[in-house]
């Protein structure tokens, strides 16, 4: 799973290609049958096993922050977006400031907007209930794989939906396993386990695109966040940093191919 839309430019192109392709002749790519959903499910089981390990890490980190078991499972089941869940833990306390939390979650998960937009050329052939039903399970791995398949002209709606269900099941299952580890460990800090969250988020940052433009965006985000952390009201730093980086990204755009 990674945060950046790796093949961003190419997907935009593919989207345009797909639009033309679908409207002209090949309207079967979006088909959603039991067979192809099951095939998609099976295809993503290996990746889902890795996702389960991340889920385990989340369960473990969440118990340390003091969430009760049902809240942890509930969060994984209902939110189903790792980085944002880890970030929520970072903002968790005896009280939670709900507006900064909501904005943070939105900023982290805003990449889903792009996934939905890039999938639209194929999704638009589905009736609304199925279209939005499929989107419930869209996350980084199944999005990336089905976009690749769609752009090769293969039917991938089953991969998107079935694969998403597989990822969801293993994410929740992994979280549940994490609860047992979390309750069995007495001194998590001495084992470095308080860093699960930080290291996870950092790995997500470095897993994305890396170039000079992105590096400078990160530096601006880090600097603004720190300034806000020291001089602005509590909990504003995440939003300030995200906006600063985002605005710079909108001004200094990548060359469109």
């Amino acid at each position: 799973m990674n945060l950046r839309l790796l093949c961003w430019v190419s997907t935009v192109k593919n989207e345009l290609k797909g639009r033309r392709l679908l409207s002209d002749f090949d309207a079967n790519l979006h088909e959603l049958t039991y067979q192809n959903v099951w095939a998609g499910f099976k295809q993503l089981v290996p990746i889902s096993l890795f996702v389960a390990v991340f889920g385990l890490a989340f369960g473990l980190a969440a118990t340390q922050v003091g969430l009760d078991d049902s809240s942890i499972i509930g969060m994984s089941a209902l939110v189903f977006a790792g980085a944002s869940q880890f970030s929520a833990l970072e903002l968790w306390g005896t009280q939670v400031a709900i507006i900064p939390l909501a904005i943070t979650i939105f900023a982290i998960n805003a990449r889903h907007l792009l996934m939905g937009a890039t999938l639209y050329p194929w999704l638009r052939h589905l009736p609304p209930v199925k279209r939005y039903g499929v989107m419930l399970f869209v996350t980084d791995p199944n999005w990336a794989m089905s976009m690749q398949a769609f752009s090769r002209g293969e039917p991938a709606m089953g991969l998107l939906f079935g694969g998403g269900i597989s990822l969801w099941i293993f994410w929740v299952l992994g979280t549940w396993l994490g609860l047992f580890f979390g309750s069995a460990i007495n001194d998590p800090v001495s084992l470095g386990l308080d860093m699960v969250m930080g290291c996870f988020l950092l790995a997500m940052v470095f897993g994305g695109q890396k170039n000079l433009r992105v590096l400078i965006i990160w530096i601006v985000a880090a600097f603004s966040s720190l300034m806000a952390y020291w001089y602005l009201p509590a909990n504003s730093h995440v939003v300030v940093g995200a906006l600063a980086g985002g605005i710079l990204g909108a001004i200094w755009m990548e060359k469109q191919q």
């Binding site: 805003a110 937009a117 639209y120 308080d194 940093g241």
Partner: protein
């Protein structure tokens, strides 16, 4: 506005998180059915989704103990070299654990 995390509070927070995430999952498709999302807005979203993590991590790195900093540094270097998240995270945690045993 703050919400207590005891009892129903936690449930409300989780429901808010779920609702916001749902908006992001549905929003892109919904908006596209009216008007294509412009290149500039896409660039904004993609820059923002990385920046938000950086913004979250910076105070963690500044305020943390040396074990925390070593963990983050190890994860960053491993990600650059190995390009695999799971081993990088594991190495980061291991670095913090070893440092704190000394």
């Amino acid at each position: 506005m703050t919400i207590e995390t005891t009892g129903f509070g936690a449930l409300i927070i989780i429901l808010v998180m779920a609702a916001v995430t749902l908006v992001t999952r549905w929003g892109g498709v919904y908006v596209m059915s009216f008007v294509p999302i412009s290149y500039r807005i896409r660039q904004f979203i993609s820059a923002m989704s990385g920046s938000v993590l950086v913004a979250l991590l910076t105070p963690l790195a500044i305020n943390g103990d040396n074990g925390a900093r070593l963990a983050l540094l190890t994860t960053a270097i491993s990600m650059l070299l190995l390009k695999k998240p799971l081993p990088s995270i594991a190495l980061g945690i291991l670095a913090a654990a070893l440092y704190r045993q000394i």
